[in-house]
Amino acid sequence: MNTEKKWFSLNLGRKKESASTCGCGKSGGCGSHEAAPTPEKDGFDQVFDVPMSRRSAFKKLTASLMIGAGAVHSSCSVTAGDETKEKAQIDWEEQFKGNYKLMNDEEKKATVDRLVRSYELRKGDKINMSSKNAEPDVLFGYAFNISKCQGYMNCVSACVEENNQDRNSEMQYIRIHELKDGQGLKFDEADDNYYHEVPAEGHFYLGTQCFHCDNPPCIEVCPVQATWREDDGLVVVDYDWCVGCRYCMAACPYDGRRFNWSTPEVPEEEVNKNQHYLGNRLRKKGVMEKCTFCVQRSRAGKNPACVDACPTGARVFGNLLDPNSTIRWVIENKKVFRLKEDLGTEPKFWYYMD
């Protein structure tokens, strides 16, 4: 255990967890955290727990406005039924709800219920939305075999279908780069939008998506904490909290983030109704979204859609903390590398070869 400080670290209202931190600003590590089984929420979350109650005060303030608006609305339209009122009520509560990251389980459930009800009122169809939290002792990781990928892009289409991505702008989380043999990872000369028989002679294929970095630059820059890293390592976005400044997009070195430049459209019959709040629920315009390792699937024990769709088995997904998991075996036994490792982003997405 190392008690010597290696460099200065600013402790902004964070609770001193235990004396056993190694104190190196980047914190913890050095195997010194065995004694802390329950991770403390960081100081800022605690500070901002207070504004959550302040927000309810804010809500009360605006409640009078709502009553006024509601009165006008109902007096104007004689036919305004209960459903219309309920819709308005839901919309109102959704507009002024808090940040999902800081919600407690009840609040999470409440917002999910509202969203499900809202969808039912609008489309007359039930969806199944989860607000399942990160499981302890789980840290998701991903490995990609560049010798096996044949460039079929089944993963891309499966991802689009699973995650309800905008069909109009053809949004895709995954990019498959067709790289030339003998040129190494020369991405600028690679083609990531090929359309010819694959695998093409003299080429190999490498897929990129959000790497769910352990030290993600995107979450640091978000001015409203609308994107964060969950305890199981998933980097997620609260679509309802995002203000759409696209700073995270500029900060991501891996092209992992997508923006809804216009209202995303998914044909009714193609909507995947098995949803998660942080995952594939329907988005609105002007918000960021990204790969979540299919949180709606992965938190239920399934593989992400891309892994299941891959016909070559080039994609490996699993729990990094489980010493018997396949992902651990790959990392420990294959020659693995990650992209742009020198940036210090610590992606949890490894590439390997046979």
Partner: protein
Amino acid sequence: MRAFIKIMTVLLLCSVFFISCKKHKESDYHSVIEKIEAEGKHYKGTSISSEEYIAEKDLIEVTEGDKTFLIPERKKHLTMYECTECHAKPLAEMRDPEVLLPRSHWDIEIVHGDAKTMNCLTCHSGANMNNLHSLTGEAISFNKSYQVCAQCHTSQFKDWKGGAHGKNISGWAPPRAINSCVNCHNPHQPKFNKRWPEVFNVHKELQRK
């Protein structure tokens, strides 16, 4: 006035210093590998399981080395098993054009190794049609056909056992179920075929024009 300027300078320096100190959570480590090692040391297992996803699948458990996992049952799903239902006589007799037998797998062409290395009898046993056999003539069940493959493809076998090769069919959570060799590769023509990609992004193409 001087004092004021001094205070302001200090404040400015402080703020600049402040910027340079990024907040780091207690749970951060120097690298993700360190984090995995430290946090994985006391791994107690998770409540998440993929049991329910494999319930409908017909799987058998195999143990190879220190790994135990599930692979799809093969024999039950072979259309013509047991082979001896037809292969009751020696092959030479069955090939006789005079004998009228329903034709089966007559069109199999081996694109696997070259003729010096591989023919039908490298894997299939003329004497014991219901099983495969190893190079030394040891019988190998169709359910464990991977053992036949593993004789030559040792590195692939190692990767497959570990998890670097082969497609997971259960979900990431234990228990682990994985496709056997023959579930992805046609043993007679193991190479994957060329085909057209699943999607093409018109939007992206236009954007880069």
